[in-house]
Symmetry: C2
Subunit: 283 residues, 2 copies
Amino acid sequence: MLPQVTTTVSATRQALQTFRAAGRSIGLAPTMGALHAGHVALFKQAKRENDIAVASIFVNPTQFGPGEDFHRYPRPLDADLALCESAGVDLVVHPDVAEIYPAGFETFVEVQDLQKPLCGLSRPIHFRGVATVVLKLLNIVQPDRAYFGQKDAQQVRIIEQMVRDLDVPTQIVISPIVREADGLAMSSRNRYLAPEERRHASVLFRSLEKIREEVERGERQAEKLIAAARHTIQSTPGALIDYVDIVDWRTLRPIDVLAGQVLVAEAVRFGTTRLIDNWRVDL
Amino acid sequence: MLPQVTTTVSATRQALQTFRAAGRSIGLAPTMGALHAGHVALFKQAKRENDIAVASIFVNPTQFGPGEDFHRYPRPLDADLALCESAGVDLVVHPDVAEIYPAGFETFVEVQDLQKPLCGLSRPIHFRGVATVVLKLLNIVQPDRAYFGQKDAQQVRIIEQMVRDLDVPTQIVISPIVREADGLAMSSRNRYLAPEERRHASVLFRSLEKIREEVERGERQAEKLIAAARHTIQSTPGALIDYVDIVDWRTLRPIDVLAGQVLVAEAVRFGTTRLIDNWRVDL
């Protein structure tokens, strides 16, 4: 049976009210749809760790800049609902833009420092939109736990910080990156890739693996590790580096010498498609 | 018996957990302490309309600009707790600054347009601080209803908008302005006034009353009404006008002709003390 679908805030609250009153726990996995195995892993974990698993499917306009892919972002709803069903999702929240951003909407949340580096440099309003819509979804569903993929590392760090700073009564759970056979991180945007781009796109993973191997051999100089990864990417046809950075996981600020909680993060363009990947390690 | 006092987020949640699990309703009145009859009215209304009345007392540093009165803001805790007791408050949340803004705090909420006019002109970071701390308090206490005084009109409008925009599951209740015998709106800052300033401070109310009388006689031209009020204030010794504005209640933008939901708002300085007052009317 397909999961129940709600399209309004009030219907969502009503659908969850009886579960909540009965003391049953609720897990939420917010998504933009165009679901893949990475999302399915989130749904299954939400279902495993809670009585009720809720997925939201909402392509959030406020996190897309002008000229980005908001309008062409894939919206294969029937396939998405089938995937939700197969993963054991109980409720799918699927509002339209006017329900989430009614006329006169003007309130935004900003995690001021964490939103600036990495993807924030080329997408200046992106994380303000992400933080705002995630806070709204947490307020609408009021889950005990909310699930996000480590693939969107900066997003995960920002949501963790927002939830802590604003005392949101939801536990944030981070799930590992799910990858294709050649190592390419699962992403809804992978379907934008032309066949040849797709063949070369595993270079993000391969360059991160190279860094991992060097770190395991004892290398701790960020400059050397970044140079090696950049070389690997630059020698790949069609790959254009947006950034390759090594940062402190807590602050997302660059570090010279790898120590403590470290994030190695990359963004690479193939044509008009921008892919991200990362490796997080505790040294 | 004095009400229970909690000073941490976790102790507050724990204190309320049993009430919430038993389905009892919770009303919150957020304050900065230095309580007066206006606050007491909020507490009594919270107690009347809910099973549990919670007051928070927190002088919020992020809503004070540099050079404002954060450090000298009165903090008469014993008298405040006695007033809470007399008003039937069940729980007082009284955290310190490090509990609300721990090291590394960096998340702020902004109601972008409503925060700019009126008091926002002379206090540019004020309402960002107000919105952020109120959202935190709502998340910490998770009340069914939260109570605010109409005296802080722009604050009330901003909180209403924030709660609507972010889908915060709390009902915002606005209580009427409580006044001294001569009409001066109750305010914690009234105690800053020297005796002579205090005598003249009722000019805010008197000028608003003049506007009300003119409106009741049929006057609808904002310019004329503002001029009359400004004249009344300017002829009062020691009174320095910050603003006298007539705005649309929903947008807080100036209107030329009074119609619909109207807010007449004033800010006047006496020495270093800045007082506000307002009259809200539906025409």
